[in-house]
Symmetry: C2
């Protein structure tokens, strides 16, 4: 930076200002500084800057998984919006483990981030302890919570389950079931199930059908859970899958067995993964605001960085029922 200062004939402080706070520098000097930066290809040392400012233009983001395209889409959108403003994402995956989340959060804080973004509203006690009292924005996303740390941006998974049940009823189905995978570790999938079962109870006054397997959601798991479900409840005429991958596996299973969809069994899933729109039959689903969450988080943070007074919001982005041929 002192090289740049010398080249531009100014002091290092002016170079720093021209970079961090351009309006505070006169047009003439700013032009000189920018020319010198251009000429030399100077890139500031973020360590020095971070140390001096005791804050870096970094946002720590923890998601359960990146292989799950839900979160990959959210992270990409967030990065797309934040990078033009000079903020870098530090991304970590917790594998749905609160302990790993805590370890990651601790590790991220050593980077002096400008904000932290977590998935969901349920965290280990140690995570909470580390996070409260920090004077940076904390965002919990993909889920709506009452006793949130700071700001929550997402939608109601209970409502997703309720709407799925209602949709199947509207399609004339009377024996409908929930099929899920690994809902013990995925609180949001668990909430979708709760909403679904609530709606069934409220409408039919009979105990709702639900089958869940312990393994993680996948196309294979979908075939397994559906096969078991049919064995236990051959009478069902509709099903809500906690996830589109499960539904696809079930649909393949139907093709193999000659079960017609939706005639014999109507299906709806969650996620709107891209194959659902092009399969045969096309799969009904509920679309979560994947990219929208990332963009909303980024916009919220950008606002907070400029106006530290805000915070503590609950932003409900909703979701979209996408009825297609399978229901």
């Amino acid at each position: 930076m002192s090289d740049i200062a010398q080249l531009a004939g100014v002091s290092a402080s002016t170079v720093s200002r021209a970079l961090r706070n351009p309006e505070a520098v006169s047009d003439a000097l700013r032009a000189k500084v920018n020319a010198a930066i251009e000429q030399t290809g100077y890139v500031p040392n973020r360590m020095a800057g971070g140390l001096a400012a005791s804050r870096t233009r970094t946002v720590g983001v923890i998601v359960p998984s990146l292989i799950n395209t839900f979160f990959a889409a959210t992270v990409e959108a967030m990065a797309d919006r934040l990078e033009p403003h000079g903020y870098q994402l530090m991304v970590g995956t917790s594998g749905y483990s609160p302990e790993r989340e805590e370890a990651l959060a601790t590790s991220f804080l050593s980077w002096l981030p400008s904000a932290m973004v977590l998935t969901g509203t349920h965290h280990a006690r140690g995570t909470l302890k580390r996070l409260v009292g920090l004077d940076i924005p904390i965002v919990e996303m993909w889920e709506l919570g009452d006793n949130a740390l700071d700001t929550t941006i997402g939608f109601s998974h209970r409502d997703v389950g309720r709407e799925a049940a209602q949709h199947l009823f509207e399609r004339g189905r009377r024996r409908i079931a929930f099929a899920g995978a690994a809902i013990d570790e995925d609180r949001r999938a668990w909430q979708r199930r709760e909403g679904f079962l609530d709606a069934v109870r409220a409408t039919q006054h009979q105990s709702p059908i639900s089958h869940v397997i312990p393994q993680r959601a996948s196309v294979e798991a979908g075939a397994v859970v559906f096969r078991e479900l049919l064995e236990m409840h051959p009478e069902i005429d509709g099903a809500f899958f906690s996830n589109d991958a499960l539904m696809l596996g079930a649909m393949f299973e139907c093709q193999r067995r000659g079960i017609t969809v939706p005639q014999q069994i109507a299906m709806i899933g969650f996620g709107d993964l891209d194959y659902g729109a092009w399969s045969s039959p096309r799969l009904s689903t509920i679309r979560p605001p994947r990219r929208e969450i990332g963009l909303a988080v980024a916009d919220h943070l950008l606002k907070r960085f400029n106006d530290s007074s805000a915070g503590g919001e609950v932003i409900d982005l909703g979701f979209q029922l996408v009825p297609r041929e399978s229901s």
Copy 2:
């Protein structure tokens, strides 16, 4: 850190050593230091450490996309292996654009990373200029290259294309075609096509069939490219898709049109995405070493961090033909 030092009754240097280089500190003092750290919940400030050492335990990784599960799997594996050793990944997505890759690389270098990992062996001139001469390991992955920057870890996409063609010939197919999407921006897809066409030319001495659409690979794109391919070449009895998503879209299109797979048309793809093993028919594919690449990169870097003399390797991880019902 000086608090810890005081608490443990040692100097700050000893605390620093106990953290960075534990063997250099006596057991007694190390225990005291660790106890003090435990007690206070001390987390070192990475900015200060990075500034002093002019290097951070950070690895910059640039992939085309995270929504593409190929790279998400590689990144997750790399992080899994590197994190226990105290290295943090900084991940960026280039969207297949060399210019964005260059911008990301520049930005990452300001974090003083211990290593940089790029996807592919083709980069903007500016990227190369920035990277050569740095005394950190540079790894190019997912592709094998001759004039690599430093170390390359991946496999031959040309060989993938060749094996796909050979496989279709072995299955008795004679009029086989390549179907691809956006191969202009995806050099690896382009290489798979080249390998395929080479093999066809070598075996049949006739001009090979290939159809490519400009849009990005997706299930939808698969239906589109396959429909157009059939219109132009109704005589084909086998196809290699540059990507499993395309193949799935084509399979759905066949189901809609009543074309039987593999009887009328044999299909093989690339990627081994999870639905291929459970669809009906199950989809033949070529499996790239997704996680293996991430692990191999991590292991290579760990080796290099301890022994800076190494480097310049070419590590071919190969790939696996997975014949299933569609061919």
